[in-house]
């Protein structure tokens, strides 16, 4: 393995999060406060908030769910700070995009130490959330009666038609992704669902948008996550075990599914992953764990192909075989010849939860604890050096990819 060939962009010296789930009694500001406090307290050698030079926050629905604008002002009030605060809205990739912006700021030399936060309060919106989530789709897709599960179901249906060879195993593989992610979350104390689901149970769950069933979908969640990023040079001021961000990439594409060349792959995943590999001079073979945006199971399937891990149209076979071979293990790796890749060791969006704006930041939190060996019950036991975090917005209109290393 040849990591760290290029200079790291930034170092993560602190990370914190809240539990994800239906947190009825917490305001969004409170969630961000809790995640931020946990994050500050995780800094081994201590940090004071006055050392934060800027903040980057990601949230998708704050304005519509909580009817609040000028988020920097609300957050300045919560934090008691007067530093520059930048809000990023990129649907489910709001968190990843906030990290991308923070990395840009550190790369540019503008700031040394910044706070990154992602948060979402979805349950406040009650039964309007399905409509609100469609803000991240093309208005004509909303007009066609689509929901987000429906859009992903359209991708899944075409994927199975084009590549499934008419086999049951392809549909089974879609359920195995969810089953594996639930299995990974069993010991994750923050996870929304800590329950096993067999592929059979997933295939029998209620229909949401055929062929997508309830248990193919990530849930509606509340939660927040936060990180403290600093320059690689200053990292050791805060901790002896910083985790470095080696690549930070973002790509965008049409918000509309119908205008894309292909609906069975995500162009932004391809672009951002390739750029991240190029930035680090790594390949997929060098990645040991990946935090993948499994908002719907087919998205994880497409990631495995778009990142180059499996050939186009074959991921379902790899998933099927890997699941059958490794379902009894603590973590079920995806096997590809000599390579083993553990995807979503904490349960991913499916089981850990998906408070939209928090997810991208939560992914780096998970990678941070895993790489530092502090993931508790869900710790991947083989010595870890590298992790990749993949955060998608909408049906793939935006993707951020971060590669982390020790």
């Amino acid at each position: 393995m040849t990591i760290n060939q290029s200079k790291p962009i930034a170092a993560i010296v602190g990370a914190g999060r809240t539990k994800f789930g239906e947190l009825w009694y917490d305001d969004p500001e409170k969630l961000l406060f809790d995640a931020g406090l946990n994050c500050m307290q995780s800094v081994d050698k201590g940090i004071h908030r006055n050392q934060l030079e800027a903040c980057y926050f990601g949230s998708f629905l704050y304005q519509s769910t909580n009817k609040m604008g000028l988020v920097p002002g609300h957050m300045a009030k919560e934090l008691g700070l007067n530093v520059p605060i930048t809000m990023t809205e990129a649907a489910c990739a709001s968190g990843g995009s906030a990290i991308y912006n923070a990395c840009m700021a550190i790369r540019s030399g503008q700031y040394d130490t910044v706070l990154v936060g992602g948060f979402e309060k979805m349950t406040d919106r009650s039964n309007k959330i399905s409509d609100d989530l469609m803000f991240a789709a093309d208005p004509n897709e909303f007009g066609a009666g689509y929901t987000f599960p429906g859009l992903y179901a359209t991708m899944m249906a075409r994927y199975m038609y084009d590549y499934g060879e008419g086999k049951q195993e392809c549909e089974d593989a879609m359920a195995m992704v969810a089953s594996k992610n639930h299995h990974h979350a069993i010991k994750n104390e923050y996870a929304q669902f800590r329950r096993e689901f067999t592929p059979e149970a997933i295939k029998k769950s209620s229909l949401v948008a055929h062929p997508v069933r309830l248990l193919h979908c990530s849930p509606v969640s509340d939660g927040a996550a936060a990180l403290i990023l600093t320059t690689p040079e200053k990292a050791h001021t805060y901790t002896d075990t910083p985790i470095y961000i080696l690549a930070s990439q973002q790509a965008t594409n049409d918000v509309s599914l119908y205008t894309r060349e292909s609906i069975t792959s995500i162009k932004t995943t391809k672009l951002a992953t390739a750029a991240a590999f190029k930035e680090t001079n790594l390949t997929y073979k060098d990645i040991q764990i990946a935090e993948v945006h499994d908002c719907f199971t087919v998205e994880e399937v497409m990631f495995l192909e778009d990142s180059g891990y499996y050939e186009k149209g074959t991921a379902w076979k790899g998933i099927y075989e890997s699941y059958e071979a490794g379902k009894t293990k603590k973590h079920t790796p995806y096997i590809n010849e000599q390579n083993e890749l553990i995807v979503n060791p904490g349960g991913g969006l499916k089981a850990d939860g998906h408070p939209v704006g928090a997810t991208g930041v939560r992914q780096l939190h998970e990678a941070w604890v895993q790489l530092r060996g502090q993931a508790g019950g869900q710790q991947v036991e083989s010595g870890l050096n590298t992790a990749l975090c993949h955060n998608i917005g909408g049906t793939g209109a935006i993707c951020t990819v971060h590669i982390l290393g020790r």
């Binding site: 007009g143 009666g145 205008t259």
Partner: protein, 510 residues
């Protein structure tokens, strides 16, 4: 305060300007095509991604084109706006040039576990339907990004324009289009006075969508450039809005009149006179196309209704749904309008007050002093004026509130079964209110020979009757291959029968 409450609690979700802008792209699926590389963009873009500033973008509509199912999903847990449809099929449609748009498959109730691969590649045709309504008091949104399977109830028809002939004739009908929905309900027992089954709208249909569909078919049948039509009247008693004309939506969707900026040089109104709201305008249309100052040669008259009846009322067993559109002009006429009489009196047999959902009627008072008096008087006067006798007429049509009244009225004036029965489509489709006589006339024109004379008498409560005598010309047969006939629609093997609960739900949605 009342205004504020209706604004915030009434559920106005989209702004009127957004609705206007969407109508410009969604009514006809208007895209822009790059003249250099052929890439298509929807909604239209001012430049092509490949050609940049060198691109030459050309507007292109897909309203009259055919696409196919690319992929989709059965939506079982819809957004709040679409809950009125329960579960349905949303999909991506691919047109022949590879251009894709999203859409919803309408007139189709998929099984929750339908195998999506079985839908892939099936042909689809755009349909003008409702998306949703902003509550009871907000806007109703329409789009043609709704589709039905072309190998099913609603066939694909090409729209080819033919230059009108140079010869000017007596004014009359130059094209027509009837549209009746796919769904039917059967009447059990004998409460329906001979109406055996009736049409009903799908939940996303209403008088506006019927009007557009019928108008579209009339244009296809006439093979006429839509810009030639300078006037459109929509006669209905179930208007979508209390104030806002259906004819404007029809004009925008079918591009009637010469286009100028984003509007059209044409006019028209929605007319109201119970069931004769449309037929009353036929003479006006013929007069207009004869009037030099009109500045045009064609007028379209649509009779359209989602006929309303209170649940359980006698009318609840006879009401149907649908529309028929006629284009009147003086070139390539298929049936000349030869004689006309109208008879009116203030007879309160059937009425609906503003804000009331269902009409009320005078029971047996609707018969002798109302329907029969007006229909028979008008019919007799028209025969007398024309110098014709029932023997000179091949087909007779009377407004069909049920299947017994028209038979009795026509018989009492001297017509026999063979003249009456071909026009009795009401017994299979119900009472289409303003669409009743126009649809019966369509059924006759579908089968009539050159030289045949048709006597049509409408009836509108309130009350009045219009009688017309048309003579069929040889052009009728020339244009017949561009029709979807009433027989094809009435007997369509894909028509779907529903129960009373489904019927009531559909009636209330539309």
């Amino acid at each position: 305060m009342q205004f504020a409450q209706s604004t915030f609690l009434g559920g106005k979700k989209m702004s009127e300007p957004i609705a206007r802008r969407q109508s410009l792209t969604d009514y006809r699926i208007t895209a822009s095509k790059c003249g250099v590389c052929g890439s298509v963009y929807f909604p239209p873009k001012s430049f092509c991604n490949n050609e940049g500033r060198a691109s030459k973008m050309i507007k292109h509509d897909y309203l009259y084109e055919k696409g196919s199912f690319y992929s989709g999903s059965v939506i079982s847990a819809p957004t709040n706006k679409f809950k009125y449809l329960d579960s349905y099929l949303s999909c991506l449609i691919e047109f022949n040039d590879g251009f894709r748009v999203p859409g919803r498959v309408t007139d189709h109730t998929p099984s929750e576990t339908a195998d999506i691969s079985k839908y892939i590649d099936r042909p689809l045709v755009p349909r003008f339907r409702r998306l949703y309504a902003d509550g009871e008091d907000g806007l109703v949104y329409y789009s043609s990004l709704n589709y039905s399977f072309a190998d099913e109830y609603y066939p694909y028809q090409e729209y080819t324009e033919i230059q009108p002939s140079k010869e000017i004739e007596r004014p009359g009908i130059v094209g027509y289009g009837a549209y009746i929905p796919k769904y039917r309900i059967k009447n059990e027992g004998d409460r329906a006075a001979g109406v055996k089954e009736r049409t009903l709208p799908y939940a996303d249909e209403d008088t506006t969508t019927f009007s557009v569909e019928a108008g579209k078919r009339a244009l296809i049948h006439a093979a006429l450039n839509s810009s030639y039509i300078k006037k459109v009247h929509v006669g209905t008693e179930s208007p979508t809005y209390a104030v806002k004309p259906i004819m404007a939506t029809v004009t925008q969707a079918l591009e009637l009149g010469e286009k100028y900026e984003d509007g059209f040089f044409s006019g028209g109104v929605d007319t109201q006179f119970a069931c004769k709201a449309a037929t009353d305008m036929y003479i006006d249309a013929c007069a207009l196309v004869n009037y030099p100052q009109f500045g045009g040669e064609y007028a379209m008259i649509i009779g359209s209704d989602n006929s309303q009846a209170a649940p359980g009322d006698a009318l609840d067993y006879t009401v149907g749904a649908g529309a028929t559109a006629y284009i009147f002009g003086r070139r390539d006429v298929i049936a000349t309008l030869d004689h006309y009489v109208s008879y009116t009196s203030d007879t309160p047999d059937f009425y609906r007050r503003e804000h009331e959902k269902y009409p009320r009627h005078g029971g047996r008072f609707t018969g002798e002093p109302a329907y029969f008096k007006h229909v028979k008087t008008s019919m007799k006067a028209c025969l007398e004026k024309s110098g014709l006798t029932p023997k000179d007429i091949q087909y007779v049509i009377c407004h069909s509130p049920n299947a017994q009244f028209p038979v009795r009225a026509a018989t009492e004036v001297g017509f026999d079964k063979t003249q009456i029965e071909p026009g009795l489509v009401g017994q299979k489709i119900g009472n289409l209110y303003s669409g009743s006589c126009p649809t019966s006339l369509a059924a006759i024109l579908d089968i009539a020979f050159p030289g045949d004379k048709i006597l049509m008498t409408s009836y509108g409560s309130g009350a009045g009757s219009d009688s017309y005598i048309f003579t069929v010309t040889p052009k009728n047969e020339e244009k017949r291959n561009r029709l979807v006939t009433m027989k094809e629609q009435v007997e369509n093997p894909f028509r779907e029968y529903v129960d009373y609960a489904f019927y009531r739900k559909m009636k209330e949605s539309a």
